[in-house]
Every structure is written in structure tokens, then in C-alpha cells.
Amino acid sequence: MQEPTVKLFKQRLLRAHTSLGIFLSLFMYICLFFGMFAIFLPFIQVWEKPSRHFEVNNTKEINYSSIIDTVISNPDFPKNNIKIKLPGYKNDPALRISHQFIEEQIYNPNTGLKQENEGKNSKLAFFLNQMHYGQFFSIYGRLLFGFVAVGVMFLIVGGLLLLVYIKFQKNGKNQKASFSKLHRNLFILTCIPLFLITLTGAFMNVGFKGAAPLASYISKGEKNNVFALVRPVLMPKEKSVKSANINVKMLSISVLLKKAKEINPQLNVEELKLINWKDKTARVEFVGYNPYKPFLNGIYNRPKIILSAVDASVIKNIRVLDRSWSVLLTDSLYFLHLLYGVDIFTKVFVSFLMLLSCFAIAFGVMHWLEKQAKVFDEKIPFYHGFGKFSLALMIGVLPATALLFNLQWLLPFDMNNRIFVQQALFFNAWLATLSWSFYRLSSYKASKEFLGLAGVLFIIAPFIHFISSGFSALDLYKKNMTSILSVDITLFLLGLILLIISYKLPTTREKPQYFWNKKYKGLTNES
């Protein structure tokens, strides 16, 4: 490229990166912030429900038959397409029995006792996940977040090009330079995983829901919903088996489960589906996950074994690699985003990378705000509408989320409209931080207060949980309820970290460079 063209390209790229970055930053921050909670969704959804608070024993030694057989022997219970989720599936310690037309029944697998299902009255993890991908605002939020993800991919590629074309100052001595450096360096660290996560996120949000015109085009106007076209490939339905209307004695679930494990020892059976139960044509589908072939199964590709419930003969055995390449590809794409079947350390590592990305976004916004602040030349305190809005959105979300966790165990579970009250208080608390941001002239002071408040609320949350649930930290540890205890510990530590940051954070804009860039202590903003 010729010199003036390169210069023009660099200028335009930088301007496009800045304007699009400022526009998308807040959406992306929200997406990543709630995404960090979504990573730990299986843990939070156990923590939030009293019905999951029971001693956890070795699930391999549990006799499921005694529980399942009792339930499905009830003459009022449907006899076809009964779904059973075994303990441990998605970190849930309960045994769950459901059917399309009955409410899910929850059982303590150790005692066989039926637990009271909170059902629609406890949706904390569900809500946090919905906030992550925009589903809370229905299809519109989902599409918006999907297009934000597309924009973020442009920002990542554009940002990398800027690093190649522009020589940024490495040793800037003012705040603006420090924020710019932090924004660049943090994104250099996280850009590859963030790109993959954003790409798969865009695929999930826009790929299916936004492909209506494409679906209409390829099906010659027959279908608008692309999922209706891909469903037969991704989730093929087993042909329905006609009942023979001859009652036959069934083999016990334990015997059938043992047989399934013999056929495919690599399969971690997670779900069972009982078809035409007690009939001569009865069969059981054992659906699970093969941890020896990660990436390729777990979402749409679910290996399964179908056995006759009468004589345990094998009807079908579908392994991971038996499915078509398109299903394997879809599962690997989803794996990159949903981290299905990965261990806790990988989850913590990915959430740490997402935390760094949140910081990188925040530093990018602060860098832009510092540029705006320069106009006022320290004559008056810097007071910018976008700055206040960003403050409420990025830092204000912390006390609001902490309140959400507190309300989970403060509000009675039988309360009328419990979920509405909890979510309304969350959004109003978040909005209150906006009012407070505008009330305070100094954004640093407001941040300090928000962080302090969030710290206190996050620290209180586990104690409210201990008192309301009747399980102390020691009880949780002794009864092997480590999933629940780990959430309490994480909340407490998060609160503690926020309190420390709040304590250390300066209260005025003049002081922050000592906080962000101690090396240049004593220098003014404009030096």
C-alpha cells in the first residue's frame, strides 16, 4: 500500500475500532460478566435450591430401581416416554423423573424420599444465564447479543491489525497511556479464546434464530425456522414403537443399567428414557456422555444404547463417531462455548480469562473517557454522561448481583411471584446505582462505594444461605455437599476481594495514576 493510503487506513481503522468499541463495550461487558456466572451454572443451580440440600454419597452404589420402579408403578403415571435423569447429571445430586405432561419429580437417591420441587420458584442460575445471552429480553435480546458478538469479532481482528500497523507508546507516563497499555496487553492475552467464544456465541444466537430468511430461501418458502430444517439431522427422533397391549414383567433398572455399562464401558449414563413401560414392546434408552471423546459429544451428539426391558437384548448401540460429520462439527463448536464435561480447573481458567477480558473492556472505556477528560484540563471535576452510565453498568452490576444472591435465600420459597420480586429488586438496585453515579461528582468515589457495598453483600450471602438452609459450612463439608459449599466459599472470597479493591481504590481522578501506575509516582496527569 502507498504511504498516504496506509495512513488513511490506519486512521479509519482506529476510528472504527474506537466508535464501534465504545458502542459495543457495555453490551459485551454484560455478556462476559454474566457469562462468568454461567460457567458455574451447574454449581449455582444446586446452591439455590433447598431440594438439593442433602448428603451426597457414592452414586455408583445407589440402587435406582427401588425408587424408579415405585414411581412408575403408580397407575396414574404415564407409561410411555418417561425420562429419568440420574444423580450427577449436570452436577445435580438428585434423581429426577419426568414426563412431557407431568411436573418433574425430585428424589433424594440415598433415602429414596421425594423432595419438594421448587420448580418455577427458584430460577437464579437460569436468570444469570439468560442475562448472559440476552434471552431475558426474549428473541430481541438474543439477536442483539448475537450481533454484538459479531461486532466484537470485528473489534478483535481490527485491534490485532492496529497492533501491527500502529506503534503504540510502551512507556506512556500518564493515565491515558496506562489505560491504553492495559487495554492492549490484556486483550493480547485473551484475544484467541475470546474470539473462539464470541464466534460460537454468535453462531448460537444469530446462527439459528437469525437465519429465518436463509431458511425460507433454501426451503423455497416452506419453512422460516432453520432449526426445523436441521433438527432431523441434529436430533433425529427414534421411530415410535407401537404398543402391543400385552402386559409383561420388566427387568429391574439396575440390571438393565449394568448390561448397558457392559456394552459400552466408556459411556457415562446420564439419562434414561422408558418406552412403552410394562408392555411386551418395552425398551429403555440409556443416553450419556463419553468423556474419552471430548469436543465431539455432549450436546446434540449423545451416544446411547437401547435395550429391551423384557430380556435386555440390544436394540441399538449408537457410539460417538456413528453420527454424521455435521453433528460432530456442531458439538465441537458448542463445546468451545459451553465447556461441556470439562473439569472445574478448566472452568476456573476460562472464567479467569473472561474476567481479564472484562477488565480489558473497562480499561478501553476508561482510556476513551480520559481522552474526553483532557478537554477540561483539570479545571473542574470530570463529569461525563457516558462515564456515569458505564460506571453504573459495569460496577453497579456488582452490588445488584450480590443482592440477587442474598434475595435467593431471604425471600420465602412459597412467596407469591417470588421470581418477579427478586428480579424487579435486582433491576431496580442496578438502576439505583445509575442515580447514585450521577449524584456523585467523582466516579472514583462512587466506584469505591459500589465495590464496598458489593463486597459486603457478597460476604453476607453465604451466611444468609447457612441460616436459611439450616446447613452450616461444617455440615456442608461433613455431608460431602462440596458443590454447594464451593459456591459459598467463592461468594465470600469474591466479596473479600471487592472490599480490598474498594479500600485501595483512590477517591479522586487526580490520584489514580498512583494506583494504576505506581512506577510514575509524583507525575501529573499531563506529564
Partner: protein, 165 residues
Amino acid sequence: MNRKLIIILSILFGPYIYAHTLLLNVFSNEDNTISIEGAFSTGQKAQGALIILEALNDGKVLYKKRLPESSELRVEIPSELYQVVLDAGSGHRIIKAGIEPKTGFKNKAVQNKSSAQTKEKNNTVLITNRQIQVAFAFAFFLIILSIILSSRNTNKLIKELQNSK
């Protein structure tokens, strides 16, 4: 219609067009029996869904059975006022008024009771509406407050800036 508009509308509402709604059909066979049919709007059968015939005066269950493979049941019409309920689980119920037998219902005075039940339901809706109103009013107040505070502080800073010149 404009082609662009069709594309935009199909993006926005496309996913809703293919909603999976459960339907309940009740019709008289003209021989003092009714046929009850449950199916999804997509044509899929609702095998396993629970059909209940509930008396309107005391809520007594007059008949209860899950839909068979054919997704259709033939039931004798009760002599008292009743309603047909399709219980799809998780509190999702579809209710239709029961068809009268040829000889008519025995006791029609019970309709008042069912209106009392409706009143109770209306009260619950009223509470929900009030909660929604309070939540939105408070959110609106906070937005207005933010604008007022912003304007107050901006004016204060402009004055300060003018004084410093």
C-alpha cells in the same frame, strides 16, 4: 408488502410462527358421549396428557385418564355441571366448558361457585399487576432522578468552569 419488510418481519417473528402449542378439542357424539382430543398445533399427538372431568360445584374429579396412543378418549357425559381439563403438567392446564347431556344438567345453580373461584383468580392477578406497577414506577422514578441529578451537577460544574475563567 415491501420485500425488505418481509425479510425483517421473518427475522423478528419467524421463530414464533412455529410455536408448539397444545390444543384441546371436545365434541359431542350425539349419543350422550363426548370425544376428547389433545394434540399439538404442529399435528403431533399428545399421548400421555391427563384428561380430567371436574365437577363445577365441588371440584370433584368425575373422570380421569391419560390420553392413549390415539390421543383421543370417548367419555360418557356427566349429569352435573362440569368442565374438561387437559393437564399438561407444571401448572399448565387447558380448560373447556363441558358439553350438556341431551337431558340437561341436574343442578345449574352452582355456577355462582365457579364465579367465586374466578374472583379468587382475579385477586391473584390484581396482586401481580400491583407488583408490576410498583416495580415499574420505582424504575421510572430512578431514571427521572438520574436525569435531575445529572442536570443539577452539570449546571453546578458549568458555573464552576465559568468562575475559573
